[in-house]
């Protein structure tokens, strides 16, 4: 690809005390790409994507979103406008209606009117299939519905990239599908995303590239076909055997 990457990570290191959560991580993500992060629990997947929108402050290296360096300071709000995040535990605002959860960002950050932002929010809720829940409060929704609000909230800021951290891991099994369907549609619609998931079938379907992490390092980057059927990386093989054979 000739275009400049949307996300550029260069030799990123992150420690929690003595513990190295990320070691020398370098990764480029291009517009339109769907990158799935796989790896055992504790391998640094969450830490990696949280460095992109600076929910974690990395200790060394560089992270760029577009041409803005991700760091504390005035540019941070711009970085966060351009990166939407969907959380494992939804983290919807319980004090706001579903509609206003989605409209809040555009109103406060993009200075849109409440009327305009709510109209747009309705469209987004329609897009994730829960237009009829707009007036309710998050606590009145099922987990799957809540996560779809979470996706709509992230989309409302019209970010250049969506970051998903295990978006279906907190859901009851019967609700996983509805959320994955929404993400799949976004992926096929050309939304750039980086996604941590344990849903292997899904990863295989949507990913343009698989990034495999272990012990804070990127061990392999491959297209899904190669990764799932013929990875030569020993640790990736062991990981796949463990998750696929039960």
């Amino acid at each position: 690809m000739s275009a400049a990457p949307l996300i550029r990570m260069r030799n990123v290191g992150k420690r929690f005390g003595e513990f190295n959560a990320l070691k020398n991580v370098s990764l480029d993500i291009f517009a339109g790409e769907v990158v799935v992060l796989l790896g055992p629990s504790g391998s640094g997947k969450s830490t990696l994507i949280r460095c992109i929108n600076h929910l974690e402050d990395y200790d060394s290296g560089d992270v760029f979103v577009g041409d803005i360096r991700v760091e504390r300071g005035r540019n941070l709000l711009a970085v966060r406008q351009q990166t939407g995040m969907v959380f494992q535990s939804f983290n919807l605002f319980p004090n706001l209606s579903v509609l206003d959860n989605v409209a809040l960002g555009p109103v406060r950050v993009k200075k849109q009117s409440w009327d305009g932002a709510r109209t747009r929010a309705r469209e987004l809720l329609h897009r994730v299939g829960i237009a009829d829940q707009a007036e309710k409060y998050p606590a009145q929704l099922s987990g799957g519905q809540q996560q779809r609000v979470g996706i709509a909230r992230a989309l409302a800021m019209e970010p250049r990239i969506l970051l998903f951290d295990e978006p279906t891991s907190a859901l009851d099994p019967e609700m996983v599908g509805e959320v994955l369907d929404v993400i799949k549609r976004l992926a096929h619609g050309g939304v750039t995303m980086i996604l941590v998931t344990h849903e292997m079938g899904f990863a295989r379907q949507v990913a343009d590239r698989i990034v495999f992490m272990e012990a804070g390092e990127i061990r392999e980057i491959a297209d899904p076909q190669t990764f799932f059927s013929s990875t030569t990386n020993e640790r990736a093989r062991a990981f796949l055997d463990a998750v696929l054979n039960h």
Binding site: N53, R80, Q81, T83, N91, N95, R108, V109, A156
Partner: protein
């Protein structure tokens, strides 16, 4: 001399009634003003304590600690009797209001802080992730949730402030207690004091009940 004519002398009460009402009005005004100032000041202190750069944070902690340790009465007497030596001469009402609200702010600051810290980290992270600035984060997401948690303790604190207004009689503010003692001296009968006590109760018992009901509701919600 029977009990009723000594402590519940209706004749004396009727005569001292205007004085008591006058005092009650001043007590309510002083209490309400001190409560509001304490609520606003405490919020700023809590935010400084939690989020300001280091030297300010330290100052807020020092303020909060000092005013929680200092007896209100001592502080009030200092404001009224010692400040004039610095060239600051305040009326009894202003002295009492200053003393009560500065102390109240220290307590409410700690209440707000506990409320804010009880909000799950995920709420902050979600607010960061959509790019809200610090002000919007607090106004739209954190404080509306924290307020619900802190209403009972803040009401408790307000009750205490209202009770502490009685200390103002020490600096000769004609508040409810002062007017009652005045009336008692005039009539040579303690009925006005009983009248004042009843008025304090009428003022504060509903608030005490309110907190109890709210806490019970909160407890049951939490248990569900």
């Amino acid at each position: 001399m029977d009990l009723a004519s000594t402590f519940f002398n209706l004749d004396v009460l009727a005569r001292s009634w205007p004085l008591l009402l006058d005092g009650l009005g001043r007590t309510i005004l002083l209490g309400a003003l001190s409560i509001v100032l304490g609520l606003v000041g405490g919020l700023f202190l809590a935010l400084i304590r939690l989020y300001a750069p280091q030297p300010f944070r330290f100052l807020a902690i020092a303020y909060i600690d000092v005013f929680r340790a200092l007896p209100v009465l001592v502080w009030l007497v200092i404001v009224y009797y010692a400040f004039p030596f610095l060239g600051l001469r305040l009326s009894p009402f202003a002295s009492a209001c200053l003393a009560l609200s500065t102390v109240s702010a220290a307590y409410t600051a700690e209440i707000y802080r506990a409320g804010i810290q009880a909000i799950p980290l995920g709420q902050f992270e979600a607010a960061y992730s959509i790019g809200l600035n610090a002000f919007d984060r607090m106004r739209d997401v954190i404080l509306p949730q924290a307020i619900r948690i802190v209403i009972p303790p803040l009401t408790n604190n307000s009750i205490n402030v209202m009770k502490d207004t009685a200390l103002a009689s020490v600096v000769a503010l004609p508040d409810l207690l002062k007017q009652a003692t005045q009336a008692q001296a005039l009539a040579a009968n303690p009925s006005p004091l009983i009248g004042a006590a009843v008025l304090y109760l009428l003022l504060l018992l509903p608030l005490v009940r309110l907190v109890a009901v709210y806490e019970e509701r909160f407890r049951r919600k939490g248990a569900r």
